[in-house]
Assembly symmetry: C2
Homo-oligomer: 362 residues x 2
């Protein structure tokens, strides 16, 4: 079922993905409901109005500018339905609708391991990450990381000769930190730079969860090297576990605050990593990716919720995520109608559709 989009379809996908209140979950639902992005765009204003608010579609001019900006960088826009889209990321529920990729796109479908960790890393930690990346690279693995200071940068460096992928929170041209300018250039040349954001965008805090989901999504295993408690690397590790990826952590002395996060991961069941051997052993135990847990509740194409249902659903939502199925049970309405109403509420900014079939107020 994977097929390349026509240029017109690609524009429709991009326009739909860039429209306000359309996140990956809503995008996925709309595609299921309408069949194509073009039809979804046509139906969207009406849906949003039903949800209780007017919605402005992304402008055609913005779409043209993004395509031109990407082309100027030599980057490619790949949709999740296309054959070039990395298969492991396409299997996420939901996948990012589109990614920009700059460099050797073919690296995205090779067996990969993510190495992530503290930005303020020790010299020893960076040396370890560099060595681990080099060894895993020599054993045929692409190394995925986030181009950040510290562990991320060291991991990319170690894997430059064999293949490395940098996933950015901002656009594929958003070089941060500035001292990684040279590293970025070498990755864009010999490796691949990936982002879900539009070119030209500088990363802000809320971009990182989406970046981290792609880092773990691309990888069969995620290794965390040095992490304090409550750090971003631990979020990546949690996402990786939810995605069925192997999670490994490098232990450290209890006297080193940068080992608190990794030791805690080990305590919670992450495999202990002292080197490439441990990663390879963990991968041996891995029999392909876990099946994606996509809805399977049937299409929502014919559902047509009424105002009363929308109102009762809106009243059921709170900042605490609940499953869509719980909403279905609470309303007693047909699942298809509830799902449709939730998409309408999401478009109107009154609900947020979360991965894993969860929903909350936005």
């Amino acid at each position: 079922m994977r097929q390349a989009l026509s240029e017109a379809e690609r524009r429709d996908w991009l326009r739909l993905a860039r429209t306000e209140n359309v996140g990956p979950v809503t995008f996925d639902q709309l595609l299921q409901r309408f069949g194509t992005a073009g039809k979804a765009l046509a139906g969207l204003p009406d849906l949003a109005r039903r949800g209780g608010r007017r919605i402005a579609l992304a402008s055609e001019a913005a779409v043209e500018k993004e395509l031109a900006d990407g082309a100027a960088l030599g980057a490619r826009l790949i949709a999740s339905c296309e054959p070039e889209f990395p298969q492991a990321v396409a299997a996420l529920d939901p996948p990012p609708p589109l990614i920009w990729a700059r460099g050797r796109v073919e690296l995205l479908d090779q067996p990969s391991v993510a190495i992530v960790g503290a930005r303020v890393a020790s010299a020893a930690g960076q040396r370890f990450a560099r060595g681990l990346a080099s060894e895993l690279g020599q054993s045929g693995h692409v190394i995925v990381s986030g181009l950040a200071r510290g562990i991320d940068g060291a991991a990319h460096e170690g894997a430059l000769p064999t293949g490395t992928v940098a996933v950015l929170g901002g656009g594929v041209d958003d070089i941060y930190p500035p001292e990684h300018r040279d590293l970025y250039a070498r990755i864009a040349e010999a490796g691949c730079v990936v982002s879900e954001s539009e070119p030209g965008r500088a990363a802000v805090a809320r971009d990182f969860p989406r970046r981290n989901r792609i880092i773990s999504g691309l990888s069969r295993a995620v290794v965390v090297v040095e992490a304090e408690l409550r750090s971003g690397s631990l979020i990546t590790a949690r996402l990786a576990a939810e995605q069925g990826r192997e999670v490994l952590a490098v232990p450290g002395s209890p006297l080193d605050p940068r080992a608190k996060g990794t030791n805690d991961l080990i305590r919670q069941g992450a495999a202990l990593c002292e080197g490439a051997e441990d990663v390879l052993r963990a991968l041996e135990g891995l029999r392909g990716f876990r099946e994606p847990e996509r809805g399977g509740h049937g299409g929502v194409a014919d559902a047509d919720p009424d105002d009363a249902l929308r109102a009762s659903i809106a009243a059921l939502l709170s900042p605490t995520p609940v499953s869509r199925d719980e909403i279905v049970r609470a309303t007693g309405a047909p699942a298809a109608a509830v799902y449709a109403a939730l998409v309408e509420l999401a478009l109107a900014g009154r609900a947020e559709l979360l991965p894993g079939g969860m929903v909350a107020t936005s």
Copy 2:
């Protein structure tokens, strides 16, 4: 059933325990077979002869000297059947028949945690061990260790104010390393020094497994702080696991060779220890000691193996330990007769009875 020995019985126990080829397993078997140590001493020469060799009982003079030496040190000799014998050690299969204890004997029956580790320890590791011992001491735990350089010494130091037990491979007066003379004196005063060996004996390599078995035997949990691969602390950890004790290990950087052993323990299932909290949490999960796995094959009092059986059993033995039950199956003889023959062979130095019902050539 626990009762103090008379002075005559104590002498018999000591003499039997000090007789050549009588280790804890053989001692235990002989006591089961004959009922008392005195009767075992009387029957021993004949048994050994049947096993194929003459045996020299320990001399009465040596026994008197050992008792006098111990008394001169103010140490107490405690038999495994006596109420003062630490209950957790009495439950081992088999227990050491006798221990010497110098200092506050009552510490031996209080909730204890062993802290052991590398002799050539890092300053950080020693600081950690000292702090851990202090915290666990304040939470009501006696700290058990082996008086060695490095981690052991630091653990004792940290627990001096609250209570600590040093288990020695040599006699209770065998101060090693020499720089621990002052530490030893403070433990003998405020804590307790314990040994299975006779006073005056300087430890040799083969004393340490017995010492380690008492360290773990006394303790509800064993914490290993810094250990290289194939080090003695890992043997203590293995014994502790076999005895049903909680095993914890302090993680460290993969770049630190002193963390190789502890990281490996964690990989094998030891709990990760970053501080006293982890130990206390592990102890919460512990519901009393595992039941001792004593034979339960009934008495061997009436067994009377013949030469043919002895010969066929001797032929079945090799340096590779096998279970006594395997020998029973292989010979087809009654279990009681096989056990009796094995004791005779052990006394004659032709078999070695190992803990857990295993047997090998000695």
